[in-house]
């Protein structure tokens, strides 16, 4: 399991858990306030409390949960990262749509007027719109999931990949037995050794300089002479 994917999961969970305790979006004021919670808009008006549940609000956290879970559940293909990124964008869109719902249907102009037996009462209720911390976390989650999609969740490993490590990855994926030797890897009777900037294929006593492609092919050729079982490399498959 890759740390990048775990980080994505952690952000998704953090978003949902935090959202339970603080609104993702609110219009706050003294006697009137609207707070966006995971179960809908909570509207307070002079001690009265109403919950308005627009259906899109449930999609926000359901999609966000998928963003976190999908790369952990489906690790075989990089497509899970693509799908997770799509879900993160959908989650954000649902949040936007839910905020638009407030702007469209729960619009508040900052005052209320009510009739009295011999006139009317005008109450000024100034409010301030506030974008909550959970929204920023969702934004970070979206950015991270897109970044994970682009880098195949491999941005924490620094520097260019070692060609020997590349060969090892292939062998691992195919579940071919190998052993690490100094500056290289040994499969069956064949060694692939890195020396300076070039790769050497050592078979018996002779050594030939090869490129990465040939080295992998030769290693697999040798390795496949043994029984093969299925193994997994995270997001390795195209």
């Amino acid at each position: 399991m890759r740390v990048e994917a775990l980080l994505q999961f952690a952000l998704a969970i953090a978003f949902i858990v935090l959202w339970v305790f603080m609104p993702a979006w609110s219009i706050s004021g003294a006697n009137y306030s609207i707070s966006l919670t995971p179960w809908g808009y909570v509207v307070r008006f002079f001690g009265e409390t109403h919950v308005i549940p627009p259906p899109t609000v449930y999609a926000v956290w359901l999609f966000a949960l998928d963003v976190g879970l999908l790369p952990l559940v489906w690790r075989r293909s990089r497509y899970s990262l693509y799908l997770a990124a799509l879900f993160s964008v959908l989650s954000l869109s649902m949040l936007m749509d839910t905020i638009l719902f407030q702007q469209r249907y729960l619009q508040f102009h900052g005052y209320t007027i009510a009739p009295t037996p011999n006139g009317y009462i005008y109450v000024s209720l100034p409010t301030k719109p506030v974008l909550g911390l959970p929204t920023y976390i969702l934004l970070a989650l979206t950015i991270l999931s897109i970044f994970n999609m682009i880098t195949r969740a491999r941005w924490l490993g620094t520097g260019p990949e070692d060609p020997i490590v590349a060969v090892v990855h292939v062998l691992k994926a195919l579940n071919i037995e190998y052993s690490r030797i100094e500056h290289g890897v040994e499969v069956g009777g064949v060694r692939i050794v890195r020396q300076g900037g070039s790769l050497w294929l050592v078979r018996g006593g002779e050594a030939t300089e090869v490129d990465l492609k040939t080295a992998i092919t030769e290693a697999v050729k040798v390795g496949l002479k043994k029984p093969v079982s299925v193994g997994v490399v995270d997001y390795g498959e195209d």
């Binding site: 259906p55 999609f63 009295t116 009462i121």
Partner: protein
């Protein structure tokens, strides 16, 4: 063969986008049923409690009626009297809203007036304005009282404090008496019948003095026991049943009222 990752992804993408679109559409469709319209119930309002017309001016007292849990605290505002066109700011005295207007001649002829205005204040911490219009009866308050009394050498001087909206003629006096506050009480003098002494006071706040020569000359049933205070007594009560004629523009109205005053005199001399 297992379905390719691409196909799964494509399927889920289309499904999730479709779900998202249906949700957006569905939310818009159900929105009118989801939202509640709420308005203030049992909200406070302003009532004109009393309009008192006095010689010093007109006092309009406004009452804040707090019906429910919402509490309105007045801080300012203004009223307009529709009949006279007077507009004045209100003052808040210990939570009571009072508007004081100058007395103008129209007031004397009115029975009730329409009062409109706005009272600003704070409702549960929020700035609020209450607009109102009320028609309320007018109470014309004329007060006449005894400010001071002196009696010496059979001459009674009564200083009257007169606060009236209209000019008044005070008098005549019927059955007045001065007696000691003691058990038993002793009369200094008493009259049976009418004493035709009158005094005129213009509208407003004034002190006028009634001077009465208390002697049998006043009438057949005047009993004078002493021309000065009785020795040994310092506390006296004056009973002064008196007629007051209010000179309203619509006509004169005469009413009878009993003025009394209990005074402590400094006893000197006597006889």
């Amino acid at each position: 063969m297992a379905p390719s990752s691409f196909k799964i992804t494509l399927l889920f993408s289309i499904l999730s986008i479709a779900v998202a679109l249906i949700l957006i559409w569905g939310t818009a469709q159900t929105a009118p049923n989801l939202i509640h319209y709420s308005t203030l119930s049992n909200d406070p309002y302003i009532k004109v409690e009393s309009i008192n017309v006095t010689a010093n001016g007109i006092y309009i007292r406004l009452a804040v009626i707090n019906n429910g849990t919402l509490v309105f605290t007045p801080t300012g505002g203004w009223v307009e009297v529709v009949e006279t066109g007077q507009v004045v700011n209100v003052t808040i005295i210990n939570g009571t809203v009072i508007a004081k207007l100058p007395l103008t001649p129209q007031w004397v002829g009115l029975a009730s007036v329409g009062v409109k205005g706005i009272v600003s204040g704070v409702l549960n911490g929020s700035r609020a304005y209450i607009a109102f219009f009320d028609v309320a009866p007018i109470h014309i308050i004329n007060t006449i009282g005894i400010a001071d009394v002196s009696y010496a050498d059979c001459v009674l001087n009564v200083t009257l404090s007169v606060n009236t909206v209209v000019p008044v003629v005070i008098g005549p006096i019927i059955n007045m008496s001065l007696f000691t506050v003691s058990t038993p009480g002793y009369y200094v003098f008493e009259t049976v019948g009418v004493v035709n002494t009158t005094v005129y006071a213009p509208a407003g706040s004034h002190n006028v003095t009634l001077t009465i020569q208390v002697s049998p000359v006043l009438g057949r049933y005047t009993y004078v026991y002493s021309c000065n205070y009785l020795s040994g007594f310092s506390k006296y009560t004056l009973w002064l049943p008196i007629g007051v004629t209010y000179m309203y523009p619509t006509g004169n109205i005469t009413s009878y009222t009993l003025l009394t005053k209990t005074l402590t005199f400094i006893v000197g001399g006597g006889s």
